[in-house]
Amino acid sequence: MRFTFLHTADWQIGKRFGSFPDDKPAVLRDQRLQAVDRLAQAALAGGCTAVLVAGDVFDTETVPEALSGHLFARLKGYPRLAWHLLPGNHDPARAGGVWSGLAASGIPENVHLHLEAKASEIAPGVVLLPAPLASKRTESDPTAWWDGVDTGPAIRIGLAHGSVQGFGSAGDANVSIDPARVKSARLDYLALGDWHGTTRISERAWYSGTPEPDGFRDNDPGNALIVRIDGLGAPEVEVVRTAHFTWTRRTLKLDGADQLAPVEAEVAALGASAVRSLLALELQGLVPLAESARIEERLTKLEPHLFHLARDLKGLATFAAADDIEALGSPVLADIAQRLKLAGEEGGASAAVAQRALRRLFTLARQAEGADS
């Protein structure tokens, strides 16, 4: 028998993105909800009848009811799909938590909450073995009970949220899952959540990753998996892209502004999609002051092309070259620059202040030259 479903996880609905300025947090939050639509469309396009969400549907237990209401309204909008939701470490199923409120206020018919460790037939001949989390942390393996469940000849699909032993977790939960569970529980497929990047653990065990990236992690987030189980063979797993934004982290070692060119080229190559890109750029190295100013200028020019540029220049040190000092065109300022340069080379907290003062001096001198001319 054949069963096709979409495996996703870590929606983190309600995540605030408070560190972003202006209205960017609202845009990022909204995209997490819109990702659900993309998942639905991908599922329908892939011929799926069910969507299995392996935990962390919500980012916190205290998500407002209005937001969870919005989500359910979206899910309800796809009645041909059965949405199976599993509590994760961010949204555990416990008294007073987000799920108890939702259950009490009513859920759409096509949405199924697996709040208890109980096998459930989700389609004819298909049994879902959920491992809902009831707390943020647990010492026990929530999938342990699967081994003893007899479901007859039905397709057995495990749905769990946690860290497969031997494999690091992106989340802050400490929920260990035996990687041998697939075999011991005779699973046809183990749909995992918690790791935000799409990762194959084995032919029958995958992390789908989060459908919409939510951090600068180079672990291939922004995907969902269409899983086709047909008979006794290994399931066919297709990775489908669902991300709106791309989050990229780059580290560059510079000794001049020109070495920003690759990043600039990369951004340029993105073309129109650059506005859907977030770039975390960490610069390291030692550059002359003039170069430092130019680097700042080029970064400032690069920023508007992207949705967000997070620049980290802590690792980029500057120094004043003889040319720099001469270029000041003022003996007084040159004298001061020389003094600050010497102070900056002495080391310590005062050295950092001197270096910064030197950088400001050069910046102001350049501005003054422009004003004077």
């Binding site: 205290t62 007073g96 003022s330 003062a357 003054a368």
Partner: protein, 861 residues
């Protein structure tokens, strides 16, 4: 430049042309009294050199004399080794001329101004240095006025002074940016962006801490909710809870039954008591009935027996009453007789008084009648007396004045002389006051006409008047003469005394008045008659009779008293009998009313007997029932046990119920709080605030680092500026030093960045310039000008220094040293001293110049 001559016309007080000629170009001194015009000369030189001839500025208007005019100023100057003549006229017929006295070349108007500026070079105001009395130091600061020659002079000796605008712009910008982060306090305090960032960070920290607390509370609530639900499940599902309810119900039922049995028993006992009471009432009613019947019978018998005695007592009482009446009548008669006697006595007394009063009255009336006929009142007689006295006096006077005629008859002549028909007696004296006619029988008539003076006439008139008055008075008194009047008066007095006596007697006898006394007497008499008393009895008779009647009255009183006692006793006995009869009758009536009519009493008794019987039977029944309930009701101890058991069971069950309710309430409460937590999404908020706090904190650190960097930069710029300034001021300080040591040895003058004096250092002490004495300030100001002038001279662009009474507060010793300085300075450049202190400046030296008439033909025109 040097000035060799100054000529003025229509400038200030100089309406007529004046000139200062022959200035040496070294030390020139113009000493003159106040209001000589020295300051006007200085202003005029300044104007000619630096103010265009076309100017209408106030400083030019102030050069115009009070009487009006157009200021004309001419200067002979020497600059760059060549002599020039500058001439300017202001306000009216404005003109400017500059003539090269070597070549005769002349330029006019704007050309002259241009050429003049070129001659003065870029030094501008430093082509001339002035020190006026009390002039502000700052106005001469070369940096502010931007004198290029002065700056060039300094720069020629100092390297790398000019740094252009870049460093200044940078310094300004640094200060500006630093002011946006830190205040200028020491230590500096955050302001502007930095303060805002720090405040934002602190606010975020507070909010984050609050969110963390709320999140922790939310987590606690979740944990607690789980615990509560577990407890609730345990309590709700407990077998004990269910069995406890049953036990409680059963125990309560047993207790209720026992309590009901006791209640029933108590009710039965009450019923027994009630029946007993009823029986007692019925028995009592029957007994009372029988007792009343017996009493009635006794009373009726007693009433019958009492009748004869009552009649006897009534008869005796009547007899006593009669006796009493008679005794009273006898007594009253006695009293009446006594009263009549009294009346008689009083009537007699009254008659006596009446007679006395009547007699007095008659006497009074008679006296009054006589008095009415006597008109010789006291005052009339007295008046007559006075008149008579006056008349006597007048007559005496007149007589004294009148002739005295004495009649002496000769023998045989008696009676032959008559006057007015009356014969004069022999020896009769006459004092005729009017013509007297003596008729002498057989002889004739002799008329004696007495002479009369004015006084005599007056007296005569007066006498006549008085005589008339006297006659009138006598007539009024009814007398013919004064003696008569006196007699009448005496008689009147006597009559008045009689009237008074009679009146007194009348009042004594009849104080109430005669009429009233008469009426009283008449009344008494009538009473006496009515009482039958003798009218003619005497007082003694009356008294004797009174004594007899008194004795009789006493006896009658005694008899009366006995009769009264007897009558009272009889009456009391009768009243007593009647009271007994009435009481008995009332009692009989009451008993009859209670017992009923005799024919119905038997039935009544029968009824009461029946009621008694019924009450007895009811009591028996109640006793039987009470006995039955007593056996089934538990005693107090047993009831107490049952209650205790029921209470315990109830308490236990209630505890379970309360616990359930509490747990449900707690669950609802926590769920409500959790809903609120979700409403605020406190977890996400906490995370968000944490992120924002980290960013804000980093931003604050960045701004603080920025502020530190700017502070360091500012310090470096200030230090660089100080170093530059020090180098900048060096040329001036070098020139100043020799002069300063003359006046203030061992002192050092600190110049500000604009080269104006800033402070004076003497040893380790530093005094701000503004706090120095006025004299020291003016001396130092002059010395700085000398230094400026020396610097300009040393660089080949000398400028004259004009000193206009600028050292008025300098003591003699310092003045001497200043003179030394001025003499020394004049070796390098022109020093023109204008002073009013002629004597003090005698020792200065130099060339003395004086105002003279400006003889130039063109000026005169």
């Amino acid at each position: 430049m040097k000035i060799h001559a100054i000529r003025l016309k229509e400038v200030g007080r100089f309406s007529a042309p004046v000139a200062l000629e022959g200035l040496s170009g070294g030390l020139d001194v113009l000493a003159g009294p106040n209001e000589l015009g020295k300051s006007t000369i200085l202003k005029a030189v300044n104007a000619a050199l630096f103010v265009p001839h076309t100017s209408k500025k106030q400083e030019i208007e102030e050069l115009r004399p009070y009487a009006g005019g157009a200021p004309l100023i001419e200067l002979d100057i020497e600059t760059r080794g060549r002599p020039w003549r500058l001439r300017k006229q202001y306000l009216s017929s404005r003109s400017a001329e500059l003539r090269d006295l070597t070549t005769g070349q002349l330029s006019r108007g704007a050309d002259a101004e241009t050429q003049l500026a070129a001659l003065l070079g870029a030094s501008g105001h430093f082509a001339l240095l002035c020190v006026a009395q009390g002039a502000a130091m700052a106005s001469m600061a070369p940096v502010r006025t931007g004198g290029a020659t002065f700056m060039a002079a300094i720069e020629s000796e100092v390297e790398n002074i000019a740094d252009g605008n870049v460093s200044r712009l940078v310094a300004d910008r640094v200060r500006q940016e630093l002011a946006g982060l830190h205040t200028s306090h020491n230590p500096p305090r955050p302001t502007g962006k930095l303060k805002k960032a720090l405040d934002a960070r602190d606010d975020l920290a507070r909010r984050h801490a609050d969110a963390e607390r709320r999140l922790a509370s939310a987590q606690e609530r979740l944990d607690r909710l789980g615990t509560l639900r577990n407890e609730l499940a345990q309590v709700a599902d407990s077998e004990l809870a269910r069995s406890g309810e049953v036990l409680a119900a059963e125990a309560r039922h047993a207790f209720d039954e026992a309590r009901e049995a006791r209640r029933k028993h108590a009710a039965a006992e009450q019923s027994v008591a009630a029946c007993q009471q009823q029986l007692n009432s019925a028995k009592l009613a029957l007994e009372i009935f029988d007792r009343d019947a017996a009493t009635l019978e006794k009373l009726e018998a007693a009433a019958r027996d009492a009748l004869p005695m009552r009649a006897e007592v009534e008869e005796r009482a009547a007899e006593c009453a009669n006796r009493l009446a008679r005794a009273r009548d006898a007594r009253d008669a006695m009293k009446g007789a006594l009263a009549a006697l009294e009346r008689s006595r009083r009537a007699i007394e009254c008659a006596e008084r009446l007679a006395t009063a009547q007699a007095a009255h008659e006497r009074r009336v008679a006296a009054l009648d006589l008095l009415s006929e006597n008109a010789a009142e006291e005052k009339i007689v007295e008046a007559a007396r006075r008149e008579a006295s006056s008349i006597d006096k007048l007559e005496a006077r007149l007589c004294a004045a009148a002739p005295r005629v004495t009649m002496r008859y000769s023998a045989g002549g008696a009676g032959k002389v008559t006057v007015e028909g009356r014969m004069l007696g022999d020896g009769e004296v006459l004092n005729p006051r009017r013509p007297l006619t003596l008729e002498i029988e057989g002889i004739g008539v002799l008329t004696i006409a007495p002479g009369q003076s004015g006084d005599d006439a007056h007296d005569a008139a007066d006498l006549a008047a008085r005589q008339e008055q006297l006659a009138s008075l006598l007539q009024r008194a009814g007398a013919t003469s004064l003696a008569d009047a006196e007699q009448l008066l005496s008689r009147r007095r006597s009559l008045e005394a009689d009237v008074a006596a009679a009146t007194a007697q009348l009042k004594a006898a009849a104080p109430e008045g005669l009429e009233r006394l008469q009426r009283s007497y008449d009344d008494l008499l009538a009473q006496v008659r009515s009482l039958g008393a003798p009218e003619t009895a005497t007082l003694d008779d009356l008294e004797a009779r009174g004594a007899e009647l008194g004795d009789g009255l006493a006896a009658a009183e005694k008899t009366l008293a006995e009769a009264m006692r007897e009558e009272r006793a009889a009456r009391d006995a009768l009243a007593d009998l009647r009271a007994h009869h009435d009481a008995r009758a009332q009692q009989i009536e009451q008993l009859i009313a209670t017992l009923g009519a005799p024919e119905k009493r038997t039935d009544t008794r029968r009824e009461k007997l029946a009621a008694f019987t019924a009450a007895s039977e009811a009591l028996n029944a109640a006793v039987r029932e009470a006995t039955a309930w007593r056996d089934s009701a538990p005693d107090n101890a047993r009831l107490s046990d049952l209650k205790h058991t029921a209470d315990l069971a109830e308490t236990a069950h209630k505890r379970v119920r309360d616990e359930l309710a509490r747990l449900r309430n707690d669950v609802a409460g926590v769920e409500g709080e959790l809903r609120s937590d979700r409403g605020g999404d406190v977890a996400a908020l906490c995370a968000e605030l944490g992120e924002q706090l980290a960013i804000t904190d980093a931003h604050c650190c960045d701004l603080q680092e920025e502020a530190a960097a700017l502070q360091l930069l500012a310090q470096e710029l200030d230090a660089a500026g100080t170093r530059a300034r020090d180098r900048f001021a060096k040329p001036v300080v070098q020139r100043l030093e020799p002069y300063l040591q003359l006046i203030l040895p061992q002192a050092r003058l600190v110049l500000g960045e604009d080269l104006a004096p800033e402070a004076l250092e003497r040893g380790s002490a530093r005094e701000d310039f503004a706090r120095l004495s006025g004299g020291t300030q003016e001396q130092l100001g002059l010395l700085v000008r000398l230094a400026f002038a020396r610097l300009l001279a040393d660089t080949g662009v000398p400028a004259p220094l004009i000193i206009d009474d600028a050292v008025v507060n300098t003591d003699d010793e310092r003045l001497t040293r200043l003179f030394q300085a001025l003499r020394h300075a004049a070796q390098s450049h022109q020093v023109l001293v204008l002073t009013c202190r002629q004597r003090d400046f005698e020792h200065l030296g130099g060339r003395r110049i004086a105002l003279a008439t400006w003889e130039d033909a063109r000026a005169a025109a």
